[in-house]
Amino acid sequence: MFREEPAAAAWPARPARPLRIASVCGGGACPGHRARPSMGEDTDTRKINHSFLRDHSYVTEADIISTVEFNHTGELLATGDKGGRVVIFQREPESKNAPHSQGEYDVYSTFQSHEPEFDYLKSLEIEEKINKIKWLPQQNAAHSLLSTNDKTIKLWKITERDKRPEGYNLKDEEGKLKDLSTVTSLQVPVLKPMDLMVEVSPRRVFANGHTYHINSISVNSDCETYMSADDLRINLWHLAVTDRSFNIVDIKPANMEDLTEVITASEFHPHHCNLFVYSSSKGSLRLCDMRAAALCDKHSKLFEEPEDPSNRSFFSEIISSVSDVKFSHSGRYMLTRDYLTVKVWDLNMEARPLETYQVHDYLRSKLCSLYENDCIFDKFECAWNGSDSVIMTGAYNNFFRMFDRNTKRDVTLEASRESSKPRAVLKPRRVCVGGKRRRDDISVDSLDFTKKILHTAWHPTENIIAIAATNNLYIFQDKVNSDMH
């Protein structure tokens, strides 16, 4: 554990490197994120129109970003929102004119993934909010991703079309059949270039697999299967089969009165296709081996930290509930987020985490109030950088935190348009908890708990991060040198 201390204005992994914002995409700049009456006209726009940045349009619930995910190369960034829409950004190739500047992200495609549904049997409305998006590893020219709401997972295929055939023999240019008597010679149709069109089509719909709310999906390293987890069960699907799934974890008690624990997140191991982990509301992690049994109710390993007796309270269990779990890229570690901390676990050590980092320990004395306003139930995500040396997670007041595992330095940054200009270096923030107060410090009592950064993502190889702040997406880049170190 190390205490929060202000880092220099620097990217934590390289102390002397300033962090520059490459592009800021506000709620108005991304056509897909604005609740405009006519959506159709925006689908052809591939560039961000920066004039929208100043147009602080109305904010509707539908625009709230609910998930952010880079694809495996980092070329594409997908966001899902509360309105069931998915917006994909693509990184522009490096400009030849400025070889040192890295490509920026522009809107690539927008589509409606899920619609609100009504379950007539139970008289319940099923929200269209996208809970998670996961990319499939690219196997051909097309890109594929899985997106899910509370109940249904969908596989989407994204393809590009930049050529069209011309010179049909039997059809004219408008597609009408020609009068055969006018055809005097035969020609071979040729492919002519056209304006790039990005087409998205739903390829599979995996429905009726879950009674409870889906909280996570994870694609297996075998690229053939994936799993989906709800509060009580985890199912294994084959990507090509939609009418059947295999239940691999079931923690529903025979008597619901005995229910004391739910599944909160799950993920496949990045390299071992038989291993996966799931976390619980009681703060435990279970590593399961699918080779051991068809139903993985018995874990192979149970990772649990004993409760700290000096910190016990009525809220101990709530704050220990794990909201996110992520394997490191190496596959050697797991990262978990609970209400106040992020923890790094070594797969070989079940008794306690390897490292614990305090995200906002100053909230420990405010738990009662945070329980009252339900903030204590907020689910924050966490992320590794490409080299597994830095971890990141969000907090309140549009702050997000980064911890360098090697130097043990940490930094608090803010994602907001007011405090950051495009291309400016992000200034570290500091929350003061009494005692000496510096000029730009924020006091604990003036934190805005409605501004939560729940969803963050890190480019798989470079120092580029995507931060979702309510309905705004921020993309920050380390401009000087974005190679992995």
Partner: protein
């Protein structure tokens, strides 16, 4: 600083601790609020208890409750309840506390406040769709009804979520009714008094039985509640 340390220590020490904690931790309560004024140790827990009951109430009112939220609130409620001084409002339970589980502690302590809170909660929950036959343990109408006989007792609210349509097809139509269980209203968890006094059949209370809280006890409970609690309460029994 916490509301309750949880370590075993003398009762007075614990009360001292809670007294101190109350001053620091209960800043979320309006200082002028009557609940804070007496600063008695029971009040802190009981206010948190009330808050938790309200949260549970609110959570269960959702058309599809957030199971994680529900489970965390229920577990917190159990912690609070376990730490509160058991009141001797009702006759002692003849059953000895068997397993050390939280559920059994709930049964054994016969907490008047808990049962009364739950009772009013249950009454309000009858408004939830699909539970039109929810029994009203404190109403004068009589014994609770059940949608189907033989359904096992359970935290019925949680089971409201029911099976997916896929599973329904597997079970056939019987599955539809099996999972709609209203035993939440007559399960041990919510009516500890009756469970203790009359060990019912294995599947919970039958049609003929109702939690035995007569008018005199109801009035007493109301006095207890009105006397110790200052937060807004859901409508009490006997309205």
């Amino acid at each position: 600083t916490m509301l309750s340390k949880g370590l075993k220590r003398k009762r007075e020490e614990e009360e001292e601790e809670e007294k101190e904690s109350l001053a620091v931790d209960a800043w979320w309560l309006d200082p002028g609020h009557p609940a804070v004024a007496p600063a008695s140790p029971a009040v802190a827990s009981s206010s948190l208890f009330d808050l938790s009951v309200l949260k549970l109430h609110h959570s269960l009112r959702q058309s599809e409750p957030d199971l994680r939220h529900l489970v965390l609130v229920v577990n917190t409620l159990r912690r609070i309840q376990a730490s509160m001084a058991p009141t001797a409002a009702l006759p002692p339970v003849p059953n000895p506390p068997a397993a050390p589980s939280m559920a059994d502690n709930l049964l054994a302590s016969s907490d008047a406040a808990l049962s009364a809170s739950m009772a009013s909660l249950l009454e309000d929950l009858s408004h939830i769709e699909g539970l039109s036959q929810a029994p009203q343990p404190l109403a004068d109408e009589g014994p609770p009804g059940r949608t189907t006989g033989g359904a096992p007792p359970g935290l019925g609210a949680l089971d409201l979520l029911g099976p997916a349509t896929g599973c329904l097809l597997d079970d056939g139509l019987e599955g539809l009714f099996e999972d709609i269980d209203t035993s939440m209203y007559d399960s041990e968890l919510w009516a500890p008094a009756s469970e203790g006094l009359k060990p019912g059949p294995e599947d919970g209370l039958g049609k003929e039985e109702a939690p035995e809280l007569d008018e005199a006890e109801l009035d007493y409970l109301m006095d207890v509640l009105v006397g110790t609690q200052a937060l807004e309460r859901p409508p009490g029994p006997g309205r």
